[in-house]
Amino acid sequence: MSGRSVVLLAIQRALQEEPNSLPKETHTGYDRKPQPDLTGTDDILRRFSERLTMVGGETHVLSGDEAVNCILRELIVEFKDQIVLLPADPELERLGIPRLMNEVAVNRIQPESSSLSLAAEAAMGITTAQAGIADTGTIVLIHSSERGRLSALLAPVHVALLKKEMIFPDKITFLAKAQQAGLDYSATSQTWVTGPSLTADIEKVLVRGAHGPRRVIVLIYSTDQG
């Protein structure tokens, strides 16, 4: 008998022996909306920034592509002559970031087409985030051939570009609306990232920057395309 049938049979036998231990009373008073007060865009933005800052992340709210370019230039200049990871993401292309990086003279690398050991040397990674969750200050990274995992992961600094209208008040709203916002939750692997990587494994002392980024900077922008 295969492991599958052994396990299933054991479960079915156990359930027959003790078919239903559920209480009759099923009203628990649980209200699935944890943050009913978040309605307006400003509220949502404020909560996102506040919560991400609390866990050591950084946010900038920007209006228009030019503003994005401006602040990115400031950020990238610090990494002149160093390696910066940039995936072949059309949105990053549209925002003119590859061009910007050439101007600032950083060593731009596409982790998709370079060696792992070289990518691991990077000082910074720039990616888009497909959604944000205000309640926890979380960014949602949906992985695809154009948006690999490593650009957001290998370098000590991760800059994520997040469209303002893609920030949802909480996890439940995100999942409910992801589909209509064009994000197919179950089709692709994804990572929800909240702030820098951290550990408290030695005497509960909080150390930011464990195996992943030490700094997470989220640039929230509204696009010129409307």
């Binding site: 396990v7 490593l150 692709t188 464990a210 195996h211 980024p213």
Partner: protein
């Protein structure tokens, strides 16, 4: 494992003699409880959330077969390879096989001609600890590296994790410093940031050359066919990003029916475990990477493990233990754990949850002492985010153990005598006729300081000169 009375008592004694250990454990558990209290206080409906989570976990358990089949169907449709295993031995065999296939044909010698063992990187998983996966894979010739920093520390120290969510909780920074000197040959230092930096540097190289990634699985969503993990360090992200083969190992109870159920549990787990609103990352393994993707696992395996869990499922008094989401809050709150740390329990899962799981997973006889190593104070049940009635389960297991396992004759006789006396008021009164004053004096001078059962650390209570019955009669004269 066998927790005999002797080993358990010896473990406890050695913990009680280790002041450094006790201080580290107390400090860490207090820290976790305080952080938890902060983020729990901000949710006014916390109690309702606990009740709802308990109910939903129970609902899923009552149709566990269908829910797992739904998980399998949806996961398989996306290309995840699902393996069902009855016990740890089977799990290890299948995982070993997958690892062998993953590395076959790859280089096994370095440029210098030395044999290089194929490398497996693991992110934290108590389930793989439970089945002894690491030593098994090592016996097959793999190098297996734990990448969670706490887990890495205990791995190089040759120890086991002492806590479900904080494996190195029992070690002070000085302990870690000394372990690094001895095992890694570095200079002594005790600054946590510096120590973490050393470990990070070593582990970064391991991530880059790992050929297989092994993760646990905090939950698996049936309706979407999605295993997932929560973590903070980024090691889970790396283990599921770089190796082209990934294996996620889950107990059968880790399945949740819907994303909505998952969202509720994602509120409860990080808050209870680490006092966070959410962990640094939640990684959803929705499908293997396509050939166009340059990272992530091309091959994604999900191993679904029973290993004794169906024994709890079949027992109406114990089924609810399968609600457990392994947050470790019951350990932090338990007066025993807080005093001895996790190693005293002598098994993978310490604390109240471990004392319930051990007799279920290992059999009553093998773990017959653990359920008795509790004061039944109920802090565990009170703090449990899914409302498992842990201390009453321990009480229930005590009955089962006494009924099933041979008891010391002396204990048996003692209890039987006690019951006979208690059940016969005439006998009781006859005993009461012994001049109490005499008894009082004899006990006070001879019995009290020497009573071995009561231990060396406590004076025994004095038998009162008059019993309550005598006092009441003297003062009020009326009895019924």
């Amino acid at each position: 494992m066998e927790t005999t009375t002797q080993t358990l008592k010896a473990n406890i004694r050695s913990a009680l003699n280790n002041d450094r250990l006790q201080a580290a454990v107390l400090k860490a558990t207090n820290h976790s409880l305080a952080k938890r209290a902060e983020v729990v206080a901000e949710l006014p409906n916390w109690e309702a959330m606990r009740s709802e989570a308990a109910l939903r976990r129970d609902r899923t358990l009552t149709r566990l077969d269908d829910t797992l089949l739904e998980l399998e169907k949806n996961a398989t449709a996306k290309g995840i390879q699902v393996h069902w295993v009855a016990d740890g031995e089977e799990a290890n065999q299948i995982i070993g096989q997958i690892c062998r296939e993953a590395v076959s044909g790859s280089e096994t010698t370095s440029t210098k001609g030395e044999v290089v063992k194929p490398l497996i990187a693991k992110s934290k998983s108590m389930t793989t600890e439970e089945i002894g996966l690491t030593p098994f894979l090592e016996s097959l010739g793999f190098e297996v590296v734990e990448t969670d920093l706490g887990e890495y520390i205990v791995q190089i120290a040759g120890q086991a994790p002492s806590h479900i969510t904080a494996p190195a909780l029992h070690l002070s920074r000085q302990d870690v410093g000394r372990i690094f000197v001895e095992k890694l040959g570095v200079e002594y230092r005790e600054d946590p940031v510096e120590l973490i930096n050393i470990a990070r540097g070593i582990l970064r190289q391991k991530f880059l050359s790992a050929q297989v990634g092994i993760t646990g699985c905090n939950f698996a969503v049936a309706e979407t066919g999605t295993p997932l993990i929560v973590e903070n360090e980024g090691n889970g992200r790396l283990v599921s990003a770089i190796p082209r083969v990934q294996i996620a190992v889950m107990g059968i109870e880790k399945v949740v029916a819907t994303l909505d159920d998952l969202m509720l549990l994602l509120e409860l787990l990080p808050r209870s475990a680490t006092g966070q609103r959410i962990t640094g990352s939640v990684i959803f393994f929705n499908r293997p990477s396509s050939s166009r993707e340059s990272d992530g696992p091309r091959e994604l395996h999900l191993v679904i493990l029973d290993n004794g869990r169906t024994k709890a499922l079949a027992d109406p008094k114990l089924r609810a233990v399968l609600r457990c989401i392994r947050c470790g809050a019951c350990l932090n709150a338990c007066p025993i754990y807080r005093t001895t740390g996790g190693h005293a329990y002598g098994w993978t899962y310490p604390g109240p949850i471990g004392a319930v799981l051990a007799p279920v997973f290992l059999g009553l006889e093998k773990a017959k002492d653990l359920p008795f190593a509790s004061t039944l104070c109920g802090r565990c049940s009170e703090i449990c985010p899914v409302k498992i009635d842990l201390h009453h389960m321990l009480l229930h297991l005590r009955q089962e153990i006494v009924a099933a396992c041979p008891q010391p004759i002396l204990e048996k006789v003692m209890w039987q005598t006690w019951e006979t006396v208690m059940d016969h008021p005439a006998l009781n009164q006859a005993l009461a006729a012994i001049p109490r004053f005499l008894l009082h004096e004899v006990l006070r001078s001879h019995w009290s300081p020497k009573l071995p059962l009561w231990g060396r650390d406590r004076s025994s209570p004095n038998l009162a000169k008059e019993s309550f019955a005598q006092m009441f009669k003297r003062e009020f004269g009326e009895h019924k």
